[in-house]
Symmetry: C3
Subunit: 356 residues, 3 copies
């Protein structure tokens, strides 16, 4: 990032909050509270980390009203009801300032080496990087940025102010909404995985649907979203997908759901809105997951989930020797239960356990 320097006053002018201490103080970095230096601004989102306030070197802290006194005792602070949200907006503003200092903005709006089909439509202010391909009948919204080696195939459309980073592929007739960020290596609209068995061989089911991605969606590097077989794969507004995620054909993901890296969602699964899915989790095909469900990392969703809540299925990590011992018993648990039941009967223990 280009070097950038500002004052607490300027920060509060742009982002609000109440500045306490010397508002002309210079700030040249946003840093974590543990390692912040004297010209850095940092934040305390959680009151239970209040003790860090006393020892940080940060020049200014973003804090909630409850921590104002403690923060002020050691230097400048910005007080706001939601410090973490304030921090997020500070990073956005900071990035906008540093970008405006960067020479990359001097590049042409449409790079001469890019290949754009004459039937494609490019909105005002859209920028296309070197060696990108925009195929026939594609539509690129105003203000969109298409970086190096991107392919936007025939009939696809990219919404206004969306950014496609280097090496992204958007397949034919797929739709990316407005203000989306699509990171490098993402593949939108490859064929879904559909085959009919035919005498020991697999007969391809052509994937005739599309991918439709809503507004304000972010898609992490090398993530894949397959086109529908019949009908579309749908990623709703505000969804955030991390890197290396697989979204199968005809999956529906509800608005504002977030998934961490390496998640796999099999075909035709329907994930609700406002869900979170931890890294490496797998959701099997044709299941439904309700709104406001949280799936832990590495959990395998093998049945539909109809109620909001937090769901987990992970084999607990252990020293390898202990694991071997315990895993051996796991493979005999049916027998263990039988033996327990027999013992209970033999010793005449009355039981109401439903697991019998």
């Amino acid at each position: 990032m280009a070097r950038f320097e500002t004052t607490l006053e300027q920060i509060c002018n742009h982002l609000g909050g109440v500045c306490h201490g010397d508002s002309r103080q210079l700030i040249d970095a946003i840093e974590p509270i543990e390692t912040a230096h004297k010209k850095a601004i940092s934040f305390v989102a959680n009151p239970k980390y209040g003790a860090q306030i006393d020892v940080t070197q940060a020049g200014c802290l973003i804090v909630s009203p409850a921590l104002q006194d403690r923060a002020l005792a050691r230097g400048a602070c910005i007080v706001t009801a939601e410090p973490y949200l304030y921090f997020a907006r500070l990073t956005q503003w900071w990035r906008a300032q540093t970008l405006s200092l960067s020479p990359s903005t001097a590049e042409p709006l449409i790079h001469p080496s890019a290949y754009i089909h004459p039937t494609a439509t490019i909105g005002d202010g859209a920028r296309v990087g070197a060696f990108s391909v925009v195929a026939a009948e594609a539509v690129i919204g105003a203000g969109a940025v298409i970086k190096n080696h991107v392919s936007v195939d025939i009939g696809a459309s990219i919404g206004t102010d969306s950014v496609l980073h280097a090496q992204v592929t958007v397949g034919e007739h797929c739709v990316v909404g407005a203000r989306c960020i699509v990171h490098s290596g993402v593949v939108v609209g490859a064929d879904g995985f559909g085959f009919a068995p035919n005498q020991g061989r697999w007969e391809k089911i052509e994937q005739l649907g599309r991918v439709r991605i809503g507004d304000d969606v972010e898609i992490g590097a090398n993530t894949c979203i397959d086109r529908g077989a019949l009908g579309d794969t749908v990623i709703s507004d505000g969804v955030k997908l991390d890197n290396l995620i697989q979204i199968g054909h005809n999956v529906f993901i509800g608005a504002h759901t977030a998934m961490a890296g390496c998640v796999g969602v099999a075909g035709s699964a329907k994930i609700g809105a406002h869900c979170t899915v931890g890294g490496g989790a797998i959701v099997l095909g044709h299941l439904s997951v309700a709104d406001h469900v949280n799936i832990s990392a590495a959990t395998v969703v093998t049945r539909s989930i109809t109620k909001p809540g937090h769901y987990t299925g992970i084999f607990p990590i252990d020293d390898n020797g202990n694991w071997e011992k315990n895993a051996a018993v796991v493979k005999q648990l049916g027998g263990v239960r039988e033996r327990l039941r027999a013992l209970e009967q033999r010793t005449a223990v009355p039981t109401v356990d439903s697991s019998k």
Copy 2:
């Protein structure tokens, strides 16, 4: 997809089956039975979904002889012994018809911006997209299609009528067979992961083998197939790999095996023919898996499997609170078995359980 309209008569002329009802009926879409509209054709592959027949709006249904009467009671139908296979072929024919309407076919056979080494061999009717790279001594079969930003490295060969989608990489001397479909972001022939330990550091073992991919193989987006260390990594005819799969060096995958997304197969594993591997499963290195084995999603194959069958190893998903309770006991199962055994001895229960 370009708009396409046909009649039931034309469908049956091309694909067979017996048309009942008005064969001049117009069809403009293939749709799932639940959401099909009046000009759509749909299918019922499984007799247990027969009740959907009575309520669908579809203009025509593809059904087995057993469902003919029920289907006919509500409108036109095409009767065939294998409705799902018929559906698969209908999608293929449909796609061919719509493609022939698409402007992309008007593009040049070899795009002027592509870089092709003078020693490369390109078959009749092969098409190379914008900014592809075909390096020295590569061979591209007749009718092959090489899309944007593809790299085919020195000495590699691509079989007749195969399609390499945008951003594919085929490494040096690797072989892709005929009629293969390789989706965007696939990497064929990166180095396998091989290192010799040397005083706390890793010494690279150069990967001197190739990848050899048979005919009629489909490889999903961003999947990686590493070259062999010594000898080759082999993907046999008719194998279907979904997205984001990792195939390690010197793996062998038998004919017509299918793997769902996010599977990882470690080096030198040998997977049989006609197997299926569920999404997110992991196969450890140097193992053998017999023909006709089905591995459930997210299962870890830690030992060779010598008999056909269905194998699973997943920690069951649960409400997080229950999971915590049960997972704590999992870590004590060795002790639980000891206690059970002690109890059995103390209460003089005779046991023949082999799990002791």
Copy 3:
């Protein structure tokens, strides 16, 4: 690979070791001992595989002193204290010899189709392939090789003698050290996954840090390493990452740690030096893992690990029917323990088991 032929004498001249038998013998391949033909050289790294010596067709075997007599009884051998390391170096030397025979070396140092920003710095002997992009202020070290369709963004730096294979992306201001190998499809420096919740929506936290990769690092195909939110993501010297690995923002990986394919490391995790992580393992965020820790494949690291050792957490694979039975009991283990405890009390068994 181009055809290459040498003698045992030449091998020993370059790599050391003591040659026994006819040193003028011609060798045209390195092959696994099971399938080696008469002009191939092979190796026996582990004395327990000594029996293979008696039956192999290999023209020469690389063995330790302990196996010298057995190897010599059947033909030529090279004796060295560390046969596996010798083998690794032989593959390196072999590849260098075959590369020098390959026409690809005749290609220009910087390909005319590559796009290089006028402010970028390119070291002596660096080579840039077709359609690469080197953006403003990037620095490419001497001897580095940048292949087709690579993007090196503004301010990034690539160390001397590093190789970036086709379709690699190195984001702005990221640093790749010397002698690194970065395989196709790798994305270095995409945004980390950081959002602040805001009334049911996600507010982006701009990722203002970089990725810093040390020397002698190898990164497998389609692996992603995200830039830090504040501060940097750090991959230390000598780290080896396999394919399709996800490294979250602000992760630190210690020197000479190796990770197999499909591993996911969540944000701010700190992995020690000289660790190994098996394929498909997941490390949750903000954890610490000590030096010299070995994590088994597919294990989920849910807590920090402070002591060297071998750690595992995998649900054991089983026939699907058995699995179903045992998995059902897993979901009742809390109850099983209760019942066991009740039985123990009822039968007056004294217990010192801490798991109560």
